[in-house]
């Protein structure tokens, strides 16, 4: 009985959707950008700008749909059949997975666009309570007893993997490359973690709304965003002297664009990210632009940090994942050892 109106609405909705999409296909093109959580605001602005640019250039109307979620969850959706024309994810590992598991794009995808297919950059910084009552300045301060640290679960969150590797890399650099010391440092860090949220936004909520923890480790862009508006009087940003260079990567999904006939538009969409306007929008949304001219303009937003790359300490994502985040990797060992 209750189901009836529900089924009716559903039928109406699906029917309606099919109807509108068939109309659109005739006179315009639509592409789907499957992205991760914190890029929502960035792509809202970028999509509008690109649509204008495309219309001016080709006279064709373009509709860009965006989908957001945890980075690996999004990759899995694409593997399982979500028809993404482009993917713009948190780490190269997730796009590698699409190539490897579903064969939707070639293995050398990362060399197809400039800067390792990372149109914008970010890093990992800290957010603390206003006035920094615990005096947190550097990674070392996070492992002190009595400091409560919020970071999501590296098994489920892309951001958390960057956090983990940033801490690991810091310890390596401090100890002159001693892996045992790095492992010890990261285990002590995770002893101070009371909650492991499954994603970056969840961790921000735990810290900001639930009032848990003295410091939140997260994407620079996410932290800059959360100190905008009402967060301004509640939190301070702490930029550690050393952190990791995070490269969120983008790619065309070849099999899908060829099937849908959207290759041209999708390719132009990604290339436009590297244009002056695309870089401008990235900077405005707290992603570090790659283009020097735009980066100089936004220099005030992004403090100078010494950044190390993933390559420097971990080789590539496949290797980093295998050593640290796969089953029985260093992350698992931290918890299993603690229990024994």
């Amino acid at each position: 009985m209750i189901l009836k109106p529900f089924v009716f609405t559903l039928a109406l909705l699906t029917g309606g959707l099919a109807f509108t999409s068939s109309i659109h296909a005739a006179e315009s093109v639509s592409i789907l950008n499957v992205s991760y959580d914190p890029t929502r605001e960035l792509y809202q602005e970028f999509n509008a700008a690109f649509a204008k640019h495309w219309q001016a250039k080709t006279g064709q109307a373009i509709k860009i749909l965006q989908s957001h979620g945890g980075s690996s969850k999004q990759a899995r959706a694409v593997i399982d059949g979500l028809e993404a024309d482009v993917v713009t994810l948190a780490l190269a590992y997730d796009i590698d997975a699409i190539s490897e598991k579903a064969g939707l794009l070639p293995a050398n995808w990362q060399s197809r666009l400039p800067n390792n297919s990372a149109p914008y950059l970010s890093t990992i910084v800290f957010l603390v309570r206003k006035g920094n009552p615990k005096g947190i300045k550097d990674w070392d301060d996070l492992v002190k007893p009595g400091i409560s640290v919020i970071t999501p679960n590296p098994k489920t969150s892309g951001a958390a993997r960057w956090n983990y590797l940033a801490a690991w890399g810091y310890a390596l650099k401090q100890s002159g490359g001693d892996e045992t010391k790095a492992r010890d440092f990261v285990s002590r860090l995770f002893k101070n973690v009371p909650v492991l949220d499954s994603g970056a936004r969840g961790a921000t909520t735990t810290f900001a709304e639930r009032g848990i923890g003295d410091v939140l480790i997260n994407w620079e862009n996410e932290i800059l965003l959360s100190t905008k508006g009402s967060g301004k009087d509640k939190f301070d940003i702490i930029v550690p002297p050393l952190s990791i260079l995070a490269e969120p990567t983008v790619s065309l999904v070849d099999k899908i664009v060829d099937k849908r006939g959207t290759r041209q538009a999708a390719q132009a969409y990604l290339e436009y990210l590297y244009s002056e306007e695309g870089q401008e929008i990235a900077g405005k949304n707290y992603y570090r632009p790659q283009l020097q001219s735009v980066a100089a303009k936004y220099a005030a937003t992004f403090p100078k940090v010494e950044l190390f790359t993933l390559k420097e300490f971990f080789g590539d994502w496949q290797k980093a994942h295998k050593t640290h985040f796969a089953d029985d990797g260093t992350f698992d060992q931290i918890y299993l050892k603690g229990a024994k």
């Binding site: 899995r76 679960n153 009371p194 299993l336």
Partner: protein
């Protein structure tokens, strides 16, 4: 069976309906679930065994099944009280309370999880007072129990309620006139009547809790070995593109749930039979 077959019915024949039922059941339940088993065959026995018995998995079973069971017990008691109050007494706002019972059914579980976390975390309305008593709810296994109790409540109330409704007051009056005291009436008249429905309700609450993900994830804290439920572990495996490992855990949950469901069905049948024989 043969008796049923010969009986004429308003509905079309036995063959047609059974065929349809089987087809429908296969489409909706059997085929997807057998896919689960097929996928695990990509693992060797050793790999399967290693995946399902690693310490994190073992700890998660304990939490998932333990908290679900406790939650079902709590709901068994308090759910019956709620059902009793709703059936036996007339009070202002009763219809509203009655409608509220269904809320955990309808509410998206993520909403429930976030709301419970907000209330029970150390700066929440209830959490801050519990904290002064040294009790931490959000981000501990206790939080898992609270969430599972929340989502299980309607199952018990909605199965017990109609039975209580059918139970005439006169039966209790008769017991009293025959010399039974209050306790005897309750134990020998009301409980046997309600018992099978109560068991069903608790079984459903339990089953629902075992599979719950959305609400628990927000309140659990998700610490490995401490507050990690099995469904989260399955998600974790998926996030690492370990499909086979995820299905291995899924199979374990499926088998355990099925065995428990069978057991509960048996207990119901047994208690129902005992009741009718008397």
């Amino acid at each position: 069976m043969s008796l049923v077959l010969k009986q004429p019915s308003v509905l079309p024949g036995f063959g047609l309906t059974l065929g349809f039922a089987l087809f429908y059941f296969s489409l909706i339940v059997l085929i997807p679930l057998s896919g689960l088993f097929v996928k695990t065959t990509t693992l060797t026995w050793e790999q399967f065994w290693h995946t399902v018995t690693e310490p994190r998995a073992m700890a998660s079973y304990q939490l998932t099944f333990g908290a679900s069971f406790l939650g079902a017990l709590i709901n068994g008691f308090f759910g019956s009280v709620v059902a009793w109050v709703l059936v036996r007494y007339r009070f202002p706002g009763r219809a509203i309370v009655d409608a509220l019972v269904d809320l955990p059914f309808a509410l998206p579980t993520a909403v429930a999880g976030i709301a419970l976390t907000a209330i029970y975390s150390s700066n929440g309305w209830i959490g801050r007072y519990l904290e002064t008593l040294g009790l931490k709810v959000a981000f501990t296994p206790l939080g898992v129990l609270v969430a599972l109790t929340f989502i299980g409540l309607p199952f018990v109330v909605r199965t017990v309620q109609p039975v209580l409704q059918d139970l005439d007051m006169e039966v209790e009056e008769a017991a009293t006139t025959l010399g039974a005291n209050r306790w005897q009436t309750f134990r020998a008249v009301i409980v046997p009547e309600v018992w099978p429905a109560l068991l069903t309700g608790m079984a459903m609450a339990f089953a629902r809790s075992v599979g719950e993900y959305g609400s628990v994830i927000f309140i659990a804290g998700n610490m490995p070995l401490k507050s990690e439920i099995t469904p989260l572990l399955i998600m974790t495996k998926l996030e690492q593109y370990d499909y086979a490992g995820a299905t291995a855990l899924g199979v374990v949950m499926l088998v355990v749930s099925f065995v428990l469901a069978l057991m509960i069905n048996f207990i119901q049948w047994w208690s129902g039979r005992r009741h009718t024989v008397r």
